[in-house]
């Protein structure tokens, strides 16, 4: 939990109207308010100077699964794990990754956290069909709907995606869910040369294969750089087998083919690896064609700051997460180097020691649209109570 929260009041609304009332009261009393789901990402963002109130969503756990329509309306406080257990009863799932067992739907939307599945399914914002939001003026409002196609009104579900609880509190969201694939299999291949990895990756990208996940894992130490290319295929039985074989043939004969428990473990590790240990964790993006240069940049950074670095990333979208170990000054130097690289964009510090967060702005430059974000923030949260100054706006 962020600094200053030790003395914060905690409320746990039982439903939407209570959530809206709690927010309204907080706004009236000008309490610096943080909305918390599972608390798994609560330390992301800037360090708060003061938190007066924490609103927990842990009682907002309702799930309405309309399996015939491939949609589900889910309370903000429901955990992704619980939701997927429930959806699986009808052979469906919400195809989103999280590194954290307690991660809730509200937190995933607010942070737009994503993992390898985004290659095929997009991120949470791409699957949100509608939202119910509690506003600081006490209104409980909805936008979007519960059908998979709908263009009526402003898409406020998108607006709160990535907003880190700065504009409103998410009460619930309706998602487009997906059928669970009949069969899944993955291929992993190790490389010592980043160029070789990039070449294979390009060949896969140009191939007719329809990949569910398409990832890179890179680990840099003083002595070596080790790269892995990870590919997941999930479809009907024959189609999965055929595509897996094609992927294996394209990546090389020494590729590992993993199924069932081994496959699940592979992807669990891929999602969680950046979060193990205590290093600073940074989100960053690049143009997909620059993958090889980005890996070179990270290796060069390792040589300069001399701390171990781990990176996992999505090859197709050019989005990754980097863990930088070592002491705070080395982490700061590394993050500054990432920020100054023209190959990279949207370098955001997620987890870091307060010393690091106080030295560099965790969000980085917000671009020319910041004034629009600020204008919307002032309109929806005129008292400026939400998120206690931790968020991007």
């Amino acid at each position: 939990m962020a600094a200053g929260s030790a003395t914060a009041e905690i409320v746990t609304p039982a439903d939407g109207p209570q959530l809206a009332a709690a927010l309204h009261a907080a706004a009236t009393e000008r309490k610096a308010t943080v909305i918390s789901g599972g608390g798994t990402k609560i330390d992301w963002g800037r360090t708060a100077s003061r938190i007066d109130l924490v609103i927990r969503t842990s009682k907002l756990t309702h799930v309405t699964h309309r399996f015939g329509d491939l949609t589900a309306t889910i309370g903000a406080g429901a955990t992704l794990l619980d939701v997927n257990r429930e959806l699986a009863q009808h052979g469906q799932w919400l195809p989103i990754d999280s590194a954290f067992d307690g991660a809730t739907i509200g937190g995933i939307i607010a942070t737009n956290d994503a993992g390898p599945l985004r290659h095929f399914f997009g991120t949470a914002r791409d699957r949100v069909l509608g939202v119910t939001l509690a506003m600081t003026d006490g209104r409980l409002v909805k936008a979007g709907g519960t059908v998979v196609k709908n263009v009526a009104g402003y898409d406020l579900g998108r607006l709160v995606s990535g907003s880190f609880g700065t504009l409103a509190a998410i009460e619930s969201a309706t998602f487009k869910v997906a059928p669970l694939p009949a069969v899944s299999g993955s291929v992993r291949i190790r490389f010592v040369s980043r160029e070789a990895l990039h070449q294979r990756a390009q060949a896969l990208a140009e191939s007719p294969l329809e990949l569910m996940a398409f990832d890179v894992h890179a680990a840099f130490t003083r002595d070596e750089a080790v790269y892995h290319l990870l590919v997941r295929v999930a479809s009907t039985p024959v189609a999965t087998a055929t595509q897996l074989e094609a992927a294996r043939a394209m990546t090389g004969t020494d590729a590992d083919v993993l199924c069932d428990g081994e496959e699940a473990e592979l992807w669990r590790n891929q999602v969680r690896d950046p979060w193990t240990g205590t290093g600073a964790v940074v989100r960053l993006s690049w143009r997909p064609a620059d993958l090889s240069s980005v890996l070179a940049l990270l290796q060069d950074m390792q040589h300069r700051v001399e701390v171990p670095i781990v990176m996992t990333g999505r090859i197709g979208t050019g989005a990754g997460t980097v863990r930088i170990d070592g002491a705070a000054p080395a982490q700061v130097a590394a993050i500054q180097q990432l920020r100054s690289a023209s190959l990279l964009g949207n370098v955001v510090v997620l987890r870091a020691d307060p010393v690091v967060k106080d030295t560099i702005d965790v969000w980085g430059p917000m671009g020319s649209s910041a004034r629009v974000m600020d204008a919307i923030k002032r309109k929806l949260d005129p008292a400026g109570i939400l998120n206690a100054g931790r968020g991007p706006i």
Binding site: R66, G68, D69, L70, T71, G91, N112, R125, R139, K142, A143, G145, V147, V148, K149, N150, V151, A152, G153, Y154, D155, L156, G157, L159, S161, G162, T166, L180, P181, P208, L209, E210, S235, T236, A239, T242, Q243, R283, S285, R287, P288, G318, A319, G345, N346, V348, W363, M366, S368, S369, A370, R371, V372, M373, A375, I376, K379, L380, P392, I393
Partner: protein, 481 residues
């Protein structure tokens, strides 16, 4: 106003400023011709800087402005503000960059949807959103309306395929929204802007994602004796865990109209279902056999598999021509756009049929069955007194059925000026008030495409009414889609 017109001439040149009544006629409406209003002036900028200066001039003069692409919208989204300025973006039509290694194309808003695919097809790529009007509609309009198309069931809408836009805000400032890189921090403004129907900004540059052409495409035309049987087939496909690229359904009247117009040689039955699968060949082969089985089990009376591209094109020609084809079976028709949860399709279609029986107006149904997006086509004859009004009432009643079934008043045509008064059927006063707050945050002067999306007291020139023929139509120079 004359001072503003002079300013616009100075910014864009005399040839880019239209204010003669005859020249303004073509801009009075979009493809929803029963809503029309006359602007004071139409300006055709050729650069982002000109758009900025035009918007600044309007803002300074307090004159409302409406951006317009190619005018193919079906909800009056580009309906001018009476006495205001239309900023027509047709001359901003350059393809600025094609980046195959990074799978993206940068274009100006006046480029047509299909042009993007034409540009990248030689490299084996395409742009996925495919509204029926894709040959003529502009990408700027697609961004405004969050356009989809028959294949959005699998591939999503415009919002899933745009990475970044340059946008001129209502005060004339230019901002970049979204990012060339993934995951720009902060609220998803790009997602808010796409589908905001031109009420928040004017987009002058768009970066879109392109996709690799699928290895295999298979198309099936299945005929059923009843719509219920066709509906059961759709349910069967979805519950088998298959997400087709497209699932389209047409009823008897729509089949009849398509046959009269483009002769797709559809079976003369109650319902046809078009199912298209795409992806890796092995997957398409395997799932296609499953789809055929499901259709047979659901009682298909005939199955036609498109063996060649020609056959596939013929099937799609029949579907895509369905709207325009209604002119062959009815003097006038009203196109509605509503959405129901897919499982509610049989019930809502039953209600529409009963409504047709009760009012005596024939209603053809052509729809995206996979996602429950209905397009009832209400046939009427404006020469019969009262029929046009009745058709409008019937169209409104169908929207009630959609909302009561848990659906939406629009799946892809937008709210625009046409449906803003239906918004309270779907949203509460509080819901709409918060949307208005968002709008006011971005456009405090309320000059950017006013009178759209959110219900407000009607302005003169916006009165809805029976269809009146567009002068371009009357002159035989164009037809309705």
């Amino acid at each position: 106003m004359q001072a503003l017109i002079d300013a616009l001439r100075k910014i864009c040149g005399d040839g880019a400023v239209l204010c003669e009544p005859a020249a303004l006629l073509a801009y009075e409406c979009d493809a929803l011709p029963h809503l029309r209003a006359t602007p004071a002036v139409v300006v055709l900028p050729t650069s982002t800087e000109q758009v900025q200066q035009v918007v600044r001039a309007c803002a300074a003069a307090g004159v409302p402005f409406v951006a317009r692409g190619h005018g193919t919208g079906l909800s009056g989204g580009a309906l001018p503000a009476a006495g205001g300025v239309v900023i027509a973006l047709a001359r901003l039509n350059r393809v600025l960059d094609i980046d195959i290694p990074n799978r993206r194309v940068t274009i100006e808003p006046g480029v047509t949807n299909l042009e993007i695919t034409r540009q990248v097809a030689p490299f084996g790529y395409y742009y996925a959103p495919d509204p029926s009007s894709q040959q003529v509609c502009s990408i700027g309009g697609n961004v405004a309306e969050n356009s989809g198309g028959a294949h959005c069931l699998k591939y999503g809408f415009t919002t899933h395929h745009v990475l970044r836009v340059d946008a001129v805000l209502p005060d004339g400032e230019l901002v970049s929204i979204g990012s060339d890189f993934a995951d720009p921090p902060g609220p998803d403004l790009l997602g808010l802007l796409i589908g905001s129907e031109g009420t928040l900004a004017i987009v002058t540059r768009v970066v879109v994602r392109i996709l690799r052409r699928p290895e295999a495409v298979q198309t099936l035309l299945a005929a059923f004796d009843t719509m219920a049987a066709g509906g059961a087939a759709v349910s069967g496909i979805i519950s088998a865990g298959i997400i087709p690229a497209a699932v389209e359904m047409m009823d008897r009247l729509a089949i009849e109209a398509a046959e009269a117009a483009v002769q797709p040689n559809f079976p003369r039955t109650d319902t046809v279902l078009i199912v298209e699968l795409d992806g890796p060949e092995a997957e398409v082969r395997e799932t296609f056999a499953m789809v055929e089985d499901v259709c047979r089990t659901a009682g298909a009376v005939s199955l036609e598999v498109a063996r060649t591209d020609e056959q596939r094109m013929r099937i799609w020609r029949g579907r895509k021509a369905a709207f325009a084809a209604m002119g062959r079976v009815s003097p006038n028709y009203y196109v509605q756009d509503g959405v129901v949860p897919r499982t509610m399709l049989p019930e809502v279609l039953g209600r529409i049929r009963a409504l047709s029986d009760r009012t005596g107006l024939r209603i053809a149904n052509v729809f995206h069955a996979g996602d429950g997006n209905l397009h009832p086509l209400i046939c009427y004859d404006e020469r019969i007194p009262g029929q046009a009004t009745l058709a409008e009432e019937v169209a409104g009643e169908i929207l009630n059925y959609c909302v009561e079934a848990g659906g939406s008043i629009t799946g892809e045509h937008g709210v625009g000026a046409d449906k803003k008064d239906y918004m309270p059927r779907m949203f509460s006063e509080d819901d709409l008030a918060v949307m208005q707050q968002v709008r006011d945050a971005v456009d405090p002067q309320r000059l950017c495409n006013p009178g759209k999306i959110l219900p407000a007291p009607r302005l003169c020139g916006e009165t809805p009414g029976p269809y009146r023929q567009h002068p371009v139509e009357a002159a035989g120079l164009g037809e309705r889609f």
